[in-house]
């Protein structure tokens, strides 16, 4: 099964195109691909429950991860993330690259 890792670095409160990654992730998952959406930098801001997290929590078949370092930098508690979102180290990106996944930065 083809693997994709989409990296969202943009803040949905600052950029009007962050739906791109969610939409692409959803479409890739629907097409039977293994998909991870990895949030980094200000891209982690919507993982707070209620803070525009709806786009993330409604993704079906997509693993949503948030960079632990980015969370810590912004004072976001790893134990209080929106439903379906988990904290993970940046190693996830390097693992995906090493394993030949298609990795796309946004």
């Amino acid at each position: 099964m083809p693997r994709y890792l989409l990296i969202e670095s943009r803040d949905p409160f600052d950029s009007n195109d962050t739906r791109f990654c969610c939409d692409l992730a959803q479409q890739l998952a629907a097409a039977k691909n293994e998909v991870i959406l990895f949030l980094v930098q200000n891209g982690v801001l919507p993982v707070r429950p209620g803070a525009r997290s709806g786009d993330l929590t409604t993704l079906a078949g997509v693993r949503v991860l948030a960079d632990s370092f980015s969370l810590k930098e912004r004072g976001i508690d790893e134990n209080r993330l929106a439903s379906g979102v988990a904290a993970a180290p940046l190693d996830v990106v390097l693992d995906a690259l090493a394993e030949g996944a298609k990795v796309i930065w946004h």
Binding site: S9, Q41, L90, L94, L97
Partner: protein, 137 residues
Amino acid sequence: MADKKTITIAIMDAPYENARSTTALRLIDLAAKRGYNINVFAYEGAVLQPFAAQTPHANTVHGRSVEEENHFIPKDAIAALMREAERNGGKIDWVNCGLCVDERGAANAIPGVRRGSPADFWQMSEASDNTLVIATR
């Protein structure tokens, strides 16, 4: 190393301007710790990341000396990453886009940085296990 990998990363951001630079250096650091070979293609403002003339400064507003300020200097971080990669059996091949260097007068880069062109990026990508392009928006 049986699982030694070669990863190519393209970056475009000038130093001190965007968190993308920090994330790129964090990724390179992780790869260096794993002993991977890492190709970096620096394009546009990113050619200033390893600019050798970067100098730490004091902070007179807050009354801190150069040592107390301990300002982050990207070229020192990159040199440290190159040493880290070598310690772990890997290598960082850092290529600065030549035209971007000329436009910015950024030829004075730290040792280990070489001049190249987008053709080098294509060749590095072809020879790599995978490639990540960290584009400026």
